[in-house]
């Protein structure tokens, strides 16, 4: 795409196509195009359309930013989302990210359902020297979470990251199970879980909005982890979620290794979305 182009009807169409092809969706695309036209009118005939649109995207993301929650002791991060999005891998990466900052971390293997889920998280724990609290397969997920919280509190651990089973948001019983995990954590420690991160796969289409809505309704999502951004998918639905729900993107996963993980950068995201 060529920077510095004039804002005319054909360019507007082209930019609309770019946004829709990036999974931004109709509503947020219409909003951004309207904002772009408004900005273009203010700037005048020499407006650099591409730069203006990037600014609109960044502005939208800034509106969704929130001050991070106050540090809990331990600080409990609950990781949730639909099946296969990269939760367990992201738990491993987030743990390493905190450990790199000199913090003490513990993992709770609260996915007691899926085959070899506990083994998978234990391997990530081994790789970063992070202890994993686990129960038995098919045990009660909430019990594992609260046992881990007890252990973390006893050891004055800085961060407890709770990995949960993937679940589709239209499954009432599974969402109830998640609500119970959150509720028992809160009962055990006021303020917990301090963060609830919804892990969203960048290849996800408009269904991502449903996911964000339902997981927020059930578990009080505080932010997103956007994964698999190293593929060709742009993750535009995360922008739609930022716009319609004011949920911030907290981290980005861009690979299958422990270090393929960064705090979210709005400028970078806008550039790759429109590039």
């Amino acid at each position: 795409f060529k920077p510095g182009r004039k804002l005319d009807k054909s360019l507007l169409q082209e930019l609309e196509d770019i946004l829709l092809s990036a999974d931004v969706g109709l509503e947020t695309t219409d909003h951004l195009i309207a904002k772009l036209q408004e900005a273009g009118r203010k700037v005048g005939p020499d407006a650099d359309a591409d730069a203006l649109l990037r600014e609109q995207v960044v502005a939208l993301l800034r509106e969704a930013e929130a001050t991070p929650p106050p540090q809990g002791a331990p600080h409990v991060v609950l990781v949730v989302g639909v099946n296969g999005t990269g939760k367990t891998t992201s738990v491993g990466k987030l743990g390493k990210y905190y450990a790199n900052q000199g913090k003490s971390v513990m993992f709770a293997a609260a996915d007691t359902f899926r085959a070899a889920a506990i083994e998978q998280l234990k391997i990530w724990g081994e790789r970063s020297g992070i202890q994993v609290v686990a129960g038995l397969p098919n045990g009660d997920s909430a019990a594992v979470a609260v046992d881990a919280l007890q252990a973390a509190a006893n050891r004055n651990t800085d961060f407890l990251i709770v990995d949960t089973a993937g679940r589709l948001h239209n499954k009432a019983n599974l969402m109830q199970e998640l609500e119970k995990v959150s509720r028992v954590l809160k009962k055990r420690q006021e303020g917990a879980p301090h963060e609830v991160l919804l892990v969203l796969d960048a290849t996800t289409g408009q269904n991502g909005l449903n996911q964000a809505r339902e997981f927020t309704r059930t578990a009080g999502v505080t932010g997103l982890i956007l994964t698999k951004i190293d593929g060709t998918a742009k993750g535009g639905v995360a922008l739609a979620i930022a716009h319609t729900m004011k949920l911030p993107i907290r981290y980005v996963g861009y690979g299958e290794s422990l270090d393929d993980f960064d705090p979210f950068d709005a400028e970078k995201f806008a550039e790759s979305l429109l590039g």
């Binding site: 296969g84 999005t85 589709l168 948001h169 269904n207 698999k228 535009g236 299958e256």
Partner: protein
Amino acid sequence: DLTSKLDRVFRNLRGVGKISESNIRDAMADVRRALLEADVNLQVSRDFLARVEEKALGQEVMKSLQPAQLFVKIVHDELVALLGEKEARMGTAKKPPTVIMVVGLQGSGKTTFCAKLARHFKAKGRRPLLIAADLQRPAAQDQLQVLGESIGVNVFRGESKNPVEVCEAGLRHARKISLDPVILDTAGRLHVDDELMNELDRVRKGTEPAEILFVADGMTGQDAVNSAKAFFERLSFSGVVLTKMDGDTRGGAALSIRAVTDVPIKFMSVGEKLDQLEPFHPDRVAGRILG
């Protein structure tokens, strides 16, 4: 839903006189909106709408007493025709065992599907072998082994650190003890990872599969065409599996993938349990896409 939206489009002019081309255009805009909301790829939607417009303008919609219903029928029928035949057949090897290679992006549901497919064959009296060829994801082989044990199907875990060699060794093992079909669970990978795409090519050359299935997440958005096209160009896969269709995704990826590869969708995975596997029903998916 779409029918009631279109009802409104056409109802407004029923008393006024005959339906004009501009009314059809309004109806088309509603269909376009429905397709995009359903995650059908933008270009695929455009091509589809062009075909529908041609049919709608050439047909009796303009003279019909129930234009909305007829228009929706045209859209629905065109969608069903494009989504393809019901129950497409699986390939079989001339000389057993039949090898079925399962591929796709990370987290799409391949390992779970391999076990479902094994269960499906076992129920038909076959003796399948699952090969744990994902050597990269932590505990992937354990995952397949646990699933295999739950349905009494053998899972082959190789000695080699090379997935190609594991598949070849597993195939020799299947021949030795007459297991058939052989289902290869491969590691998830990005279509833009050349090294890993080359690895799949070597797996294919080493095992000569009668069937290569591309497993795609039913909630995939616009990017569905990119991964499907790239995997197809490399492997010429012969079937598509859509997973997590027990969710509330509209499933537009089904149309996108079919449109750019022309490969039949053979199965739909509709749950985490191993018995939750269905053959593909184009009429059901068409209704879902249209909302």
